[in-house]
């Protein structure tokens, strides 16, 4: 249970994910790259690791950060037409292979050479707001170090895929909120610029907000955890998919 029993509340960073194209990659089968509705915990870990300048081989640090992330997401703006599917063609070379640090080159397995076609789904014109904290709070990095890295990242930040480049600072000084739970924090956020009319669809961990009621659509086991040592996704966590309206605090 992450919610503060004293009721004083936690400090949350507010992140703004906005770009003409966003992607929250899900399980890709064959040439079809799908996107989820909300960013996965593994994607956020990668985003933060990029900001912190970590190398892909620093798997322990990635794992520790992922294990500490407590977050929720609210979609303030969605494209009414649904997802955009981009179709890509890649030319595969006959002799494409790469060296490895384990000493044997790796080649493409199976499939013919020539034109390889694949599909990639994106959210077009979306704006997602996140609230994020780290539990335990006194680890490395702490929330301030994470915020500083987002403001002055070690590398350019992208939202899910390389071409999804943000149109705004993902975090800027002052973007934070105090609240006891993810759900409470999300409820306090002011609407994004040009937001859709509320309620907005949202995702929060099952122990960080209501599990029943009119604004809960379902409680589900989400498989978005990556095992950074093996590079594979595995294991689930319980989350609530629902919606959040205007809270009493921000209602006119």
């Amino acid at each position: 249970m992450s919610a503060d029993a004293t009721g004083t509340g936690h400090r949350w960073l507010i992140l703004r994910l906005e770009a003409p194209l966003l992607a929250f990659g899900g399980v890709a089968i064959d040439a079809v790259g799908v996107t989820r509705d909300f960013p996965a915990v593994s994607m956020l870990t990668g985003l933060f690791a990029n900001a912190l300048g970590w190398d892909r081989t620093e798997v322990e640090a990635h794992q520790a950060l992922q294990d500490r992330l407590v977050y929720g997401a609210r979609r303030d703006r969605a494209n009414p037409l649904g997802l955009l599917t981009d179709s890509q063609n890649a030319q595969l070379e006959a002799r494409e292979r790469g060296w490895t640090t384990w000493g044997r080159p790796e080649e493409r397995g199976g499939g013919g050479q020539g034109i390889h076609r694949r599909r990639r789904d994106y959210h077009a014109d979306a704006c997602i707001q996140l609230v994020v904290r780290l539990d335990p709070a006194d680890g490395t990095p702490d929330l301030d170090a994470l915020a500083a890295a987002l403001e002055r990242p070690a590398r350019p930040l992208f939202i899910g895929r390389k071409p999804c480049l943000p149109t705004h600072p993902i975090w800027a000084p002052g973007m934070e909120v105090t609240a006891p739970t993810v759900h409470a924090a999300l409820s306090l956020l002011a609407p994004a610029d040009d937001a859709d009319d509320p309620p907005w669809s949202a995702l929060w961990p099952a122990d960080e907000g209501p599990k029943t009621g009119r604004n809960v659509h379902r409680v589900t086991a989400l498989a978005d955890r990556r095992n950074w040592r093996t590079g594979l996704h595995g294991g689930t966590r319980m989350v609530v998919e629902g919606c959040i309206g205007v809270s009493p605090e921000t209602a006119p």
């Binding site: 906005e18 770009a19 003409p20 194209l21 900001a51 892909r56 081989t57 494209n79 037409l81 955009l84 981009d86 179709s87 890509q88 890649a90 002799r95 494409e96 292979r97 790469g98 060296w99 490895t100 640090t101 384990w102 000493g103 044997r104 080159p105 790796e106 493409r108 076609r117 077009a124 014109d125 987002l150 403001e151 002055r152 990242p153 070690a154 590398r155 350019p156 930040l157 992208f158 390389k162 071409p163 999804c164 480049l165 943000p166 149109t167 705004h168 600072p169 993902i170 975090w171 800027a172 040009d194 590079g231």
Partner: protein, 376 residues
């Protein structure tokens, strides 16, 4: 002056009556944005044209690439030199020529002029340094070192060959810019330091269904009359906003720490982005055009595109687009005060805030200078 980690490149390009990038139905790619459909050019399409450009500023034309002697010293400097403080001189002296031959090919021990030019990036150097250290640690004397490295070269022959293929110029330069993800080994892949957004029109899509026929000029009177083929294609006109951000330290690392080479790469990339068309249908639509506005920004704050300036579609008009971009940038400056250094070229009257105008040549030189600063 603080070092700039990122170089952001914003462009406005006009292409008229063209079909630049198609989706699987054969129609122009689109983007719904702010309530209107725009014409879109994918980042994959843009990168391919910059990569493959046959042009005076092509990546393969970079002087530093073919003649870069410094890159031929990387094994000496970055793999062998660090071992000298730790291991006996005779062991390292025996190790070095054999390792040079294994990496750069026959006769590589005769000096750098006899070596193939390889662009060894950070992953390659890290692996080679680790292997060399292991070989040095296992060798009890010079003879053992020589035998050890010979065995190593033999058993890893295929792997070293693959490494050489991946890093030989000019292909290695393309990987340094656009990344390489061939294997499942995260320690061997190279991350792209150049991030490219999809370009899109600042206005609602302007498209025309072009009905065309092809007539057989050699047709005889007794043949059936009519055309040989009747088809339809889509042609679009657009003023496109494009955005690229370069991770300068990342690029320098991919160039084996050679900032001068990275500087040349950035210099040429600025030209390629301004001048190379992402066009298809070259023969029938001549989709050639140069950037009518290009804005470079150097800084260390989180890069952000100016796409949101055009979230509400505006007119297909360069003056309006330049004014809109400048106002949007002014607002971002007012709110976030991110303090990027700027240079721009523009055929419009409106000028981006806090930016000095210049020619394309001046912008490319400025970008190169920023790259060299990033290495200091």
């Amino acid at each position: 002056m603080s070092r700039s980690r990122f170089l952001q490149i914003h462009t406005l390009h006009t292409y008229t009556g063209a079909l630049l990038n198609r989706d699987d139905t054969g129609l122009a790619k689109q983007l719904p944005y702010g309530g209107t459909f725009r014409t879109r050019i994918s980042s994959q399409c843009l990168k391919r044209h910059w990569r493959k450009a046959d042009d005076v500023h092509a990546l393969s034309e970079i002087d530093g690439a073919e003649d870069s002697f410094r890159s031929r010293e990387l094994v000496t400097e970055r793999v062998i030199a660090p071992l000298r403080a730790e291991f006996p001189k005779e062991v390292i002296d025996a190790l070095e020529p054999e390792l040079q031959k294994a990496v750069y090919g026959e006769k590589a021990d005769k000096g750098k002029r006899s070596r193939q030019t390889l662009l060894l990036g950070a992953p390659e150097l890290a692996w080679l340094a680790g292997e060399a250290k292991r070989l040095a640690a296992e060798a009890t004397d010079a003879k053992a070192a020589k035998t050890g490295v010979a065995d190593w070269a033999k058993s890893f022959k295929d792997n070293i060959k693959a490494l050489r293929e991946a890093t030989a110029l000019p292909g290695g330069l393309t990987a340094a810019l656009f990344g390489r993800m061939v294997t499942s080994d995260p320690a061997a892949n190279i991350d792209a330091p150049v991030h490219v957004a999809h370009a899109f029109t600042v206005h609602a899509q302007e498209s025309e269904s072009d009905y065309f026929t092809a007539v057989d000029d050699l047709r005889r009177d007794e043949d059936d009359s009519g055309a040989d083929t009747i088809q339809e294609t889509e042609l679009t006109s657009g003023l496109y906003y494009g955005y690229v951000v370069i991770d300068l330290p990342g690029l320098i690392a991919n160039c084996g720490g050679n900032a001068a080479l990275a500087g040349e790469v950035v210099h040429n990339l600025v030209y390629l982005i301004a001048e190379v068309s992402p066009g298809a249908k070259l023969g029938s639509t001549a989709p050639y055009g140069r950037a009518e506005l290009m804005l470079l920004e150097a800084g260390d704050r989180q890069p952000r595109s100016l796409a949101a300036a055009y979230r509400k579609a505006i007119a297909n008009d360069l003056e309006v687009a330049a004014e809109t971009l400048s106002q949007h940038l002014g607002k971002l400056d007012g709110i976030y005060a991110t303090g990027e250094a700027r240079r721009h070229l523009s055929m419009a009257d409106a000028a981006p805030p806090s930016s000095a105008p210049g020619s394309l040549a001046e912008l490319a030189d400025w970008a190169k200078a920023k790259t060299l600063e990033a290495a200091q």
